[in-house]
C-alpha cells in the first residue's frame, strides 16, 4: 500500500485514540487529583481508602470479579475438554448452543434470576409445594448482599468467553504433545495437569482476563439486583451529583489502577506466551468416538449448562408473558399484552430505534477503522505498527465504566468537547463510545483475515495493472469478508447490549437506547418490570439472529476474537 496513506491512517487512528480513549481517561484522572482551586491533591483518593463504604465496595467488586472468573472457568473448562476429546452426538449444535448466553443481556437475565430465586420466587414455591420449606419463612437465596446472585448471573453470561478461549487453545495443541506424554507413561489426569494445562495456560489466561475485567466493573447486573455496595454502582449513583463532587472520579481512578494491576499480575503469573517448537504438527486433532455412556455424559453436561444459562432468560420470557407471578412456580395466567405494550409504549419503540441507529453507526465506524488498522499492522512495515495494534487492543483492558465516565466528564457543559452533545442528543458520543469499546474484536477479526490471505494475491492483481487500493477492494476484501462480517456482527450485538455507556450518557428519554429503557422501566411501578421483560425479549430475538449468523460464518475461529 501507498506509504503516505498508511502513515495517514496511522496518524488518523492515533488522533482518534488520543481524543476518545486517552483524553477521557486522562480527564477523569485529572479530576480525581485536582482541587477546585487548581491545586494537586491526593486527598480524594486517600479518602476513598478511609471511607468504609468505598472500601467495602472495592472488596465486593474484587470478589465479584474473582468469583465470576473462577466460576466461569469451572463451568467452561470441563466442557471444552469434553468437546475437544470426544465425538459425541450433536457435538456441532451443542457447541454453538453453549455460546448463546454470551449474547443474552445479563441484566435482563438478572430480572429472571430474581423471579426464580427471590423470596417469593419459583424455587421457593417449588420447595414449599414439596413440603420442604416453611411457607411462612421462605429462605432468601440471593442472600444478604446479593453477591451470590450477581456472580451466578455474571458467570452464566461470561463463561462462553472462557469456553472459546480454552477451545481455541486446545485446538492449537499438537496432539503429538499429549501422545508423547502418554507414550512415556503419563496418563489421564496426570497428563492433563503436567502437559495439557501448562500448554493452554496462555489461552486460558487471555479468557480469564477479559472475564475478570468485565465482571470486576460490571454495572448492569448489580444494578438490577439492587446491590449497591460495589464500586461500579457507587460510581453510577455518584453521577447524580457530579458537579463539585470529586469522589466518583477518584473511584474511577482507583478502579482503573486496580484493573491494570490485576491484569499485569495475572500476565506475569500465567500469561507467559509459549512459543511452539519448529516442527510441524504430524496429525490433526482427531476426536475419539464416544461410548454410549460418554455420549450421555457429554450431551448431559452441555445441555445442563446451556439450560442453566438460559433459565434466567426463560424466566424473563415467562415474566414478560405473565399477568401475575408471585409465590407460584408458573405464572397464574398468561398474556401477550406486555409485548404489545412494549411496542406501543413511547419509551420502548423509541429505544429500539435508537439502539439500532447507535449500534449500526458504531459498527460501521468499527469496520472501517478495523480494516484500516489491520491493514497497516499486517501489511505494512511501518515502524511502530505494533504500537498501533496494541493501542487498538487496549479498550479490552479498560473497564467500560471508566470510559463512559470519561466521556461524560469531557462533554459536560463548559468542557472542551461539549459540542459532541448535539443540543441534548448523545448520538455522536454514544456511537463513539460504542465503537471504541468494540474496536478490538473487529481489528482482531480483520487482522486474522489479512494474515490468512497471502499478500501475493494482491500483488498478482497489481502486477496485472490494478492500482493498490483497487486491488485491496477487488481481491482481499472479498476474501476476508467472512471475518469482517463476523467481527461486525459481534460488535453490533455487544453495542446493542451496552450498559455502562448507555446508562451514563443518555440523559433524555427520547434518546434512550434499549438498555436504559429497560432500566427505566424496571424501576417504574405497576407492569413496568413485565414491559421491561418484554422489551428484553424483543432485544434478545434481534441478537440471537446476529450471533447465530456470526457463529455460522466463523465457526471455531470465534475464539480468536476474545484474546487480549
Amino acid at each position: 500500500m501507498n506509504r503516505k496513506l498508511a502513515i495517514a491512517i496511522y496518524i488518523g487512528t492515533a488522533i482518534f485514540f488520543a481524543l476518545f480513549f486517552v483524553y477521557p481517561i486522562w480527564h477523569t484522572v485529572k479530576e480525581a487529583f485536582v482541587t477546585t482551586d487548581g491545586g494537586i491533591t491526593f486527598a480524594y483518593v486517600i479518602e476513598i481508602f478511609q471511607n468504609p463504604v468505598y472500601v467495602e465496595g472495592l472488596v465486593n467488586s474484587f470478589y465479584m470479579g474473582l468469583f465470576t472468573t473462577i466460576l466461569s472457568l469451572v463451568i467452561a473448562l470441563p466442557l471444552a475438554l469434553l468437546a475437544n476429546t470426544w465425538n459425541f452426538k450433536g457435538r456441532e449444535i451443542l457447541n454453538s448452543l453453549i455460546l448463546i448466553p454470551l449474547i443474552l443481556p445479563p441484566f435482563v437475565g438478572a430480572l429472571g434470576i430474581k423471579q426464580l430465586l427471590g423470596q417469593a420466587g419459583v424455587l421457593n414455591s417449588f420447595l414449599i409445594d414439596l413440603g420442604l420449606m416453611n411457607a411462612d419463612a421462605p429462605y432468601d437465596w440471593l442472600g444478604e448482599g446479593q453477591l451470590f446472585g450477581v456472580v451466578l448471573m455474571n458467570a452464566l453470561h461470561l463463561y462462553p468467553i472462557a469456553y472459546l478461549n480454552v477451545s481455541a487453545a486446545l485446538a492449537n495443541v499438537d496432539p503429538a504433545m499429549e501422545e508423547a506424554a502418554e507414550n512415556l507413561g503419563c496418563h489421564g489426569l496426570r497428563r492433563l495437569l503436567r502437559i495439557t494445562f501448562p500448554m493452554i495456560m496462555p489461552g486460558m489466561f487471555a479468557g480469564a482476563t477479559i472475564i475478570f475485567i468485565w465482571s470486576f466493573t460490571e454495572l448492569g447486573v448489580p444494578l438490577i439486583f439492587d446491590f449497591s455496595r460495589v464500586t461500579s454502582v457507587q460510581i453510577f449513583h455518584g453521577i447524580k451529583d457530579l458537579s463539585g463532587n470529586p469522589f466518583p472520579y477518584a473511584l474511577v481512578v482507583v478502579l482503573l489502577v486496580f484493573t491494570v494491576m490485576f491484569y499485569l499480575l495475572g500476565k506475569w503469573l500465567f500469561g507467559r506466551e509459549i512459543a511452539a517448537s519448529s516442527g510441524r504438527a504430524s496429525t490433526g486433532r482427531s476426536l475419539r468416538d464416544a461410548s454410549p455412556v460418554m455420549n450421555a455424559i457429554c450431551i448431559g453436561a452441555f445441555l445442563f449448562v446451556t439450560g442453566l444459562a438460559v433459565l434466567p432468560h426463560f424466566g424473563v420470557i415467562l415474566l414478560s408473558a405473565s399477568n401475575q407471578w408471585y409465590d407460584s412456580i408458573l405464572p397464574a395466567d398468561f398474556t401477550l399484552q406486555h409485548f404489545e405494550d412494549a411496542l406501543g409504549h413511547p419509551l420502548t419503540l423509541n429505544s429500539i430505534g435508537n439502539s439500532l441507529k447507535y449500534a449500526s453507526l458504531a459498527t460501521l465506524t468499527n469496520v472501517i477503522l478495523g480494516i484500516a488498522i489491520a491493514y497497516v499492522v499486517v501489511r505494512t512495515k511501518l515502524p511502530g505498527r505494533q504500537l498501533l495494534d496494541a493501542m487498538a487492543m487496549l479498550p479490552l483492558a479498560v473497564p467500560g465504566l471508566v470510559l463512559a465516565f470519561g466521556y461524560l466528564a469531557m462533554t459536560r457543559e463548559g468542557q472542551r468537547f461539549d459540542f459532541l452533545i448535539l443540543g441534548e442528543n448523545p448520538i455522536l458520543i454514544l456511537v463513539i463510545a460504542y465503537a471504541v469499546r468494540r474496536l478490538p474484536y473487529v481489528v482482531r477479526a480483520a487482522a486474522a483475515g489479512f494474515q490468512q490471505t497471502s499478500v501475493t494475491l494482491e500483488e498478482a492483481a497489481q502486477n496485472l495493472g490494478c492500482p493498490p487500493l483497487k486491488a485491496l477492494r477487488k481481491v482481499t476484501l472479498p476474501l476476508i469478508a467472512a471475518n469482517l462480517i463476523a467481527g461486525g456482527l459481534l460488535a453490533f450485538s455487544f453495542a446493542m447490549l451496552e450498559v455502562s455507556d448507555s446508562l451514563i450518557l443518555a440523559e433524555q428519554q427520547q434518546h434512550f437506547p434499549i438498555t436504559k429503557a429497560i432500566y427505566a422501566l424496571v424501576s417504574s411501578l405497576g407492569t413496568g418490570p413485565n414491559i421491561a421483560s418484554a422489551l428484553g425479549v424483543w432485544a434478545m430475538a434481534f441478537l440471537a439472529i446476529t450471533i447465530i449468523g456470526a457463529g455460522l460464518i466463523l465457526g471455531k475461529k470465534m475464539g480468536a476474537l476474545f484474546r487480549v
Binding site: E182, N183, C186, I274, G279, R280
Partner: protein, 359 residues
C-alpha cells in the same frame, strides 16, 4: 529389547482399510524400517504398535506377550514424533527427564541418565535451554534423547528426519543407527525416503494399501523385488510387460513389444511356463548404451534426452512399440552422446533383468 510379532492386524477408519490382515515379525535388536508411499498404512502400523490405535482385529505381541489391548502409557515403547512434540513449557532437561519421572526413578539416577542421554546425542550442557532456543537439528536430538533415556522396549521413529535439511539428514541418519546399535535397541523407523531406509536399515518392509508388499534386507529388496510396485518404489526402474516365450537353462526368454529379452525370475520359486504373462524390471544402471547392435537383449531406439552429471550420464532412449522411454544410467561416462538422429542400442545381462508377476 523385545521381538515383535504381529498377526492378522486389521484397522479401518470408516470405509478406509488402513491395515489389512497384516502379519509381520521384527527381531530383537533390529533396526527395522517401514517404507511406502503416503497413505500406505505405515504410520498407522507404527501407532498401533505404540498403542495409539486399537486394531479392529489381530494381535500384537512383544516377546510372545500379547500387548494388543495394553494402553500406550503402559507399553514402555518410546516414540520420536515427526513434529518432535517437545513440550515448550519445559526446558531441555525437564523434557528428557519426563519419562524417568513418570517411572519414579530417583532424582540422582534421573540426573545421571539424562546427562548420559544428552551426551549420547551430543547435546551435553544444553539442559537449561528452552525448546524455542534450539535449532531444528538440536530439537531432533532432544526428541531422540527423550525417547532413549527411558530405555524403551522398542524405539519408534516416525519420519524423524523429515523436518531437517538434506545435509543434516544424512548426518543424523548415521547417528541414529550408531545409537540404536550401541544400545542394542529394537527400533521401528517409518519413512518415505528410500535412501534413508537403504542406507541404515537391517531389514525393511514395503507397505502398500495396508498390506506388506515385501520384507527383506535392503540388498534383497533392491536387487530382488517381488513385484513391480516394490521395484518402482525402491530405486528407479524400467518396467516392460510381456509373456514367457521359452525357458532355456537359467534364462527365461520373454516376448515383449520391443523384442525378446532374456531374464531371470526374481523369486526362484515363481512358477513360469511359456505363455505366462509377466512384467520385466531393468534398473537404469543395469543398461549400457552402445552404438553397435549387442549380442543379446537388444533394445534399439533414438535418444530423446541426454544429461551429463559428471560421475554419471543419464539417457532417455525411445524404442519403437513403447510409449515410455528407457532410462539408462552410465557410471563413469567417458563421453556423452547427444545425437538424437543416430540409432542406438541398450542392452543388459540376463541376470539383471528381473522377471516379476504381471501387473
Amino acid at each position: 529389547m523385545v521381538s515383535i510379532q504381529i498377526r492378522g492386524l486389521e484397522k479401518r477408519f470408516g470405509d478406509v482399510v488402513a491395515l489389512n490382515q497384516l502379519d509381520l515379525d521384527i527381531q530383537s535388536g533390529e533396526l527395522f524400517f517401514l517404507l511406502g508411499p503416503s497413505g500406505c498404512g505405515k504410520t498407522t502400523l507404527l501407532r498401533s504398535i505404540a498403542g495409539f490405535h486399537l486394531p479392529d482385529s489381530g494381535t500384537i505381541e512383544f516377546d510372545q506377550e500379547d500387548v494388543t489391548r495394553i494402553p500406550p502409557h503402559l507399553r514402555e515403547t518410546a516414540m520420536m514424533f515427526q513434529s518432535y512434540a517437545l513440550w515448550p513449557h519445559l526446558n531441555v532437561y525437564r523434557n528428557v527427564a519426563f519419562g524417568l519421572e513418570e517411572r519414579k526413578v530417583s532424582k540422582a539416577e534421573t540426573k545421571e541418565r539424562v546427562e548420559e542421554a544428552l551426551a549420547m546425542v551430543k547435546m551435553e550442557g544444553l539442559g537449561n535451554r528452552k525448546i524455542n532456543q534450539l535449532s531444528g537439528g538440536q530439537q531432533q536430538r532432544v526428541a531422540l534423547a527423550r525417547a532413549l533415556v527411558v530405555r524403551p522396549r522398542c524405539l519408534m521413529l516416525d519420519e524423524p528426519l523429515s523436518n531437517l535439511d538434506a545435509k543434516l539428514r544424512i548426518e543424523m541418519r548415521s547417528e541414529i543407527r550408531r545409537i540404536c546399535k550401541e544400545s542394542g535397541l529394537t527400533a521401528i523407523y517409518v519413512t518415505h525416503d528410500q535412501k534413508e531406509a537403504l542406507s541404515i536399515a537391517d531389514r525393511l518392509a514395503i507397505l502398500d494399501g495396508g498390506n506388506i508388499a515385501q520384507v527383506g534386507t535392503p540388498e534383497d529388496v533392491y536387487r530382488r523385488p517381488r513385484s513391480a510396485l516394490v521395484a518402482g518404489f525402491i530405486g528407479e526402474t524400467n518396467l516392460i510387460k510381456g509373456e514367457v516365450a521359452f525357458i532355456s537353462g537359467a534364462n527365461v526368454y520373454v516376448k515383449t513389444a520391443i523384442g525378446d529379452l532374456a531374464g531371470r525370475p526374481s523369486d526362484p520359486d515363481y512358477p513360469l511356463e511359456p505363455g505366462t504373462p509377466v512384467t520385466l524390471s531393468i534398473r537404469p544402471e543395469c543398461l549400457s548404451i552402445e552404438t553397435t547392435p549387442p549380442a543379446r537383449n537388444e533394445i534399439a531406439g533414438h535418444l530423446t534426452e541426454s544429461i551429463y552429471l559428471g560421475e554419471v550420464a543419464q539417457y532417455s532412449l525411445q524404442a519403437p512399440g513403447r510409449e515410455e522411454p528407457f532410462h539408462i544410467s552410465e557410471l563413469n561416462p567417458r563421453r556423452i552422446i547427444r545425437d538424437t538422429k543416430q540409432k542406438l542400442y541398450a542392452s543388459s545381462k540376463p541376470e539383471d533383468v528381473m522377471i516379476l508377476p504381471f501387473s
